[in-house]
């Protein structure tokens, strides 16, 4: 490997055959796709040479991808991207039974850095074990171990049980809960019992392989291309976190993303009552200040992070529960405001239970909200809900439904497949308020206020509706880059000018990365994902937002009357395609563009 900053090596595990290989990553691929989400998507493309592979089949790989920043103490760059073919998405006009998008989901914590310490640039798991297993990695030594006794265990208990079994607290691990084991499509992957690669059904794919967990511990670091330049950049970066942005640091340390619970509500951008409103009158009861006062005891950071946005404590009151993390903006909105739940202990209970089961709280909260609306509108009965009186704000009913979803019992079996499947079953025009794009539910940022940004952000994201996608090509490419180098978006504001991500990447690799080349790599990664989706049959009509946004006006708050103009949206989408260099009718990236981006291999 002449390229520095990497090992150039993937750990490749086939759970059907038990074969464990260390495979070389083509240097060209590292240069073009960097790592994390980008390199993961390229490997996914190579492993799935044709469309329509069942995401839950042994053939579908699941990739655990750190990036070139992972393991280095560059502040806030410890993310791990889980990449696979999505079990969540489907096109409107399905060209294949199993046509689905790429799925990438990102988590903080310590898992990604530890993969790198063990000497790998990523882990790729294919196949299906005949019984529950976990993978144990200590540098070069890799074992597939029996996990039968852990099967069925919630993530909170398992987090400790696994360390007990391994006998060494220095292992870092990621794992699924009962939801993933039960093949709940919206199941997620967690580490440290709270940090989740929440979106896109990654836990379901892991479950389909009978893979409970991966535990890893390592002793290595790769050589850098320009060690001295890296040290210089690191010193500057550390200084900028210490000196220049104290207000920013205070903000993150005080409330993490939960700071946005109240501010978003004030700005009318919150998902409230199944996205029917943008503001929640009782938001103060579950906001950051309330949590500081009543729940949070300690702040926790990911590897080498200065922000510490994860909050832990205990909730007491109507429910008693250990709080590992929450609410964040997303979890607090989706299980709180979106369901009109303002009982703080009740909200904490819902979040803790969902994390313990290992289910995507964004999608789960969205599905519960959808059913609440259908029930209020009397499109469904209490019998349809298996006896649950699913009224707005009802914590017990939400808990019961959540449980049924994770164990796939009766109504839960349908609800856990998401709002698209629910609307198909309920019919009666309920599709109009089924808040998803491509089958993947929207997150906690509501669309009508700032609709130019949010409608494009959700409509064009490659994993189905995604709030981290960005509402313009530039932002999207930058998000793809952050997910590829393993940097955290919350700290991205610090990395500019003389300590830009491109400069760090140059120092790490020893290759000169200009801003232009760096941005182009982001565009390349985004277009590769797009081509994956295009091959799977996704077209312009799939890049839309739910009809509710064109028909429903907010009735409450400062932004009363807000609605999305459909013509305006279609115009913006055409404009977006033009900026992207994509065909405005089919949404296909042009051949010239693909060639220019070194993606000629995607042209068929």
């Amino acid at each position: 490997m002449t390229l520095k900053g990497y090992y150039g090596r993937m750990l490749d595990i086939n759970l059907t055959t038990g074969e464990i290989k260390k495979t070389q990553i083509p240097e060209e691929d590292i240069k073009r796709f960097i790592g994390g989400r980008g390199l993961g998507t390229k490997i996914l493309w190579d492993k799935l040479p044709h469309a329509g592979v069942d995401p839950l089949s042994p053939e579908n790989p699941i990739l655990f991808m750190p990036g070139p920043f992972s393991g280095l103490p560059i502040p806030s760059s410890s993310r791990t991207c889980v990449v696979t073919k999505s079990p969540r998405t489907s096109a409107i006009d399905q060209k294949f039974d199993n046509g689905s998008t790429v799925s990438y989901s990102n988590m903080g914590g310590f898992f990604g850095p530890e993969i790198r310490f063990a000497g790998y640039d990523g882990i790729c798991v294919t196949g299906k074990a005949s019984n529950p297993v976990y993978i144990k990695i200590v540098d070069d030594k890799v074992e597939i171990c029996d996990a039968t006794k852990f099967w069925g265990m919630g993530t909170d208990k398992f987090d400790n049980a696994l360390i007990d079994e391994l006998g060494d607290p220095k292992f870092e691990s990621c794992y699924i809960g009962p939801a993933g084991e039960n093949l709940v499509p919206m199941a997620c992957v967690l580490n440290t019992a709270a940090r989740a690669a929440g979106r896109g059904g990654t836990g379901c794919v892991m479950g389909s392989k009978n893979l409970k967990a991966i535990a890893v511990k390592g002793t290595q670091m790769p050589q850098l291309g320009n060690h001295k330049m890296y040290l210089d950049l690191l010193e500057k970066a550390r200084k900028s976190f210490k000196d220049d942005n104290n207000e920013g640091l205070k903000f993150w340390r005080y409330g993490g993303t939960a700071n946005a619970l109240t501010s978003s509500s004030q700005r009318g951008t919150q998902a409230v009552k199944n996205y029917g409103e943008g503001s929640f009158g009782e938001i103060e009861k579950i906001g950051a200040a309330a949590n500081r006062e009543q729940v949070w005891k300690r702040d926790f950071a990911c590897f080498s992070c200065h922000l510490a946005c994860k909050k832990s404590g205990i909730a007491k009151g109507s429910y008693s529960v250990m709080v590992h993390d929450g609410p964040e903006y997303e979890t607090g909105t989706m299980m709180g405001a979106n369901l009109l739940i303002s009982d703080l202990a009740g909200l904490q209970k819902l979040i803790a239970v969902a994390d313990d089961y290992g289910i995507d709280i964004i999608s789960a909260g969205n599905a519960i909200g959808f059913l609440m609306e259908a029930y209020e509108k009397k499109l469904i009965t209490k019998e349809y809900l298996d006896g649950i009186d699913l009224t707005w704000g009802n914590v017990d009913a939400s808990l019961e439904l959540l449980h049924k979803m994770c164990y796939r019992e009766k109504i839960g079996d349908l609800a856990c497949q998401g709002v698209k499947a629910l609307a198909k079953d309920i019919q009666q025009d309920s599709e109009k308020f089924a808040i998803h794009v491509k089958g993947h539910e929207l997150a906690a940022w509501n669309v009508p206020v700032n609709s130019d940004y949010w409608s494009i952000c959700y409509a064009t994201s490659n994993r189905g509706a995604c709030h981290m996608n960005g509402g313009s090509p530039d932002r999207q490419d930058m998000a793809a880059l952050r997910d590829s180098i393993a940097a955290c978006s919350f700290a991205a504001g610090w990395y500019k000018n003389e300590i830009s991500f491109a400069k760090f990447l140059s120092a790490i690799t020893g290759m000169e990365w200009t801003d232009e080349e760096f941005n182009k790599a982001g565009e390349r990664i985004f277009n590769l994902e797009k081509m994956f989706n295009y091959r799977e049959g996704f077209r312009r009509e799939d890049d839309s937002i739910p009809p509710k946004f064109f028909e429903n006006k907010f009735t409450f708050g400062d932004f009363k009357g807000s609605i999305v103009n459909k013509k305006e949206f279609e115009k913006n989408l055409t404009e977006y395609y033009k900026l992207r260099g994509w065909d405005s009718e089919t949404s296909k990236p042009g051949d010239d563009l693909l060639k220019e981006l070194d993606l000629a291999f995607t042209i068929q």
């Binding site: 001295k228 590897f303 007491k316």
Partner: protein, 224 residues
């Protein structure tokens, strides 16, 4: 960061008794270069567990300073491989992080346990206290790698000493980075401090698991 330099024995005992934010457990160092001006207290690395967020920046800073690399003939800081760090952060669930490092104990059970006979001239075992700095050092020429020191540390203190995987000789004994501990310097949260503490403080409950148990009881107590 608050100024802890006048941290007295009375404060320390009070904090221990209350289990409050001043729960400071680790460290003590020698009187020569690290002694306070009045000679009554000594300086040490201490941990404020309520401020620690578990980010492990201390591990990377320790490792970078103590494991340099020669790049193009120039000695530079290392990359900060946490595996090589003397200070270790242990995660626990419920959420507690415990940084653990050599306490440079005044009574040093590790030296006590060293099986090598004292040198006739210097009076030193393989493991000895440096007379100038009071730091505990190991003479690898004389050390036979029996790891009795590690056993003593594990049984009686924090269990920080471990064998080097290749030489099988003890590692992780804090050398205080030439008087400027890097873990303290780089902690983003001010959780580590290099301050004066009472010389006769309790050093018997340094095991990370024990500390975690105590903190979990304090922080996540539903009956409190």
């Amino acid at each position: 960061m608050e100024n802890n330099s006048n941290y007295s024995r009375r404060h320390f005992l009070k904090d221990l008794a209350l289990g409050g934010s001043g729960l400071i457990i680790l460290g003590t160092v020698g009187y020569k270069i690290f002694k306070s001006s009045d000679g009554k207290t000594i300086k040490a690395i201490s941990v404020d567990f309520e401020k620690c967020t578990g980010c492990k920046t201390c591990e990377t800073a320790c490792s970078a300073y103590n494991h340099r690399e020669i790049i193009n003939g120039e000695e530079l800081m290392g990359l900060g491989n946490p595996h090589l760090s003397n200070i270790k952060v242990f995660h626990y669930n419920p959420d507690v992080d415990v940084p653990s490092t050599c306490a440079i104990c005044p009574d040093a059970p590790c030296i006590e346990a060293c099986v090598i006979s004292p040198d006739l001239i210097t009076g030193r075992k393989a493991l000895y206290r440096d007379p100038d700095t009071q730091i505990i050092k190991n003479d690898i020429e004389r050390c036979i790698g029996c790891m009795q020191c590690a056993k003593a540390c594990a049984d009686l203190r924090g269990g920080v000493i471990i064998p080097n995987p290749e030489t099988h000789k003890p590692e992780r004994i804090c050398q205080l980075c030439d008087g400027d501990p890097q873990c303290v310097k780089h902690c983003p949260f001010g959780a580590l401090a290099y301050i004066e503490v009472a010389a006769d403080r309790d050093l018997t409950n340094l095991a990370p698991a024990k500390i975690a148990e105590k903190l979990i009881e304090q922080w996540y107590n539903f009956n409190a």
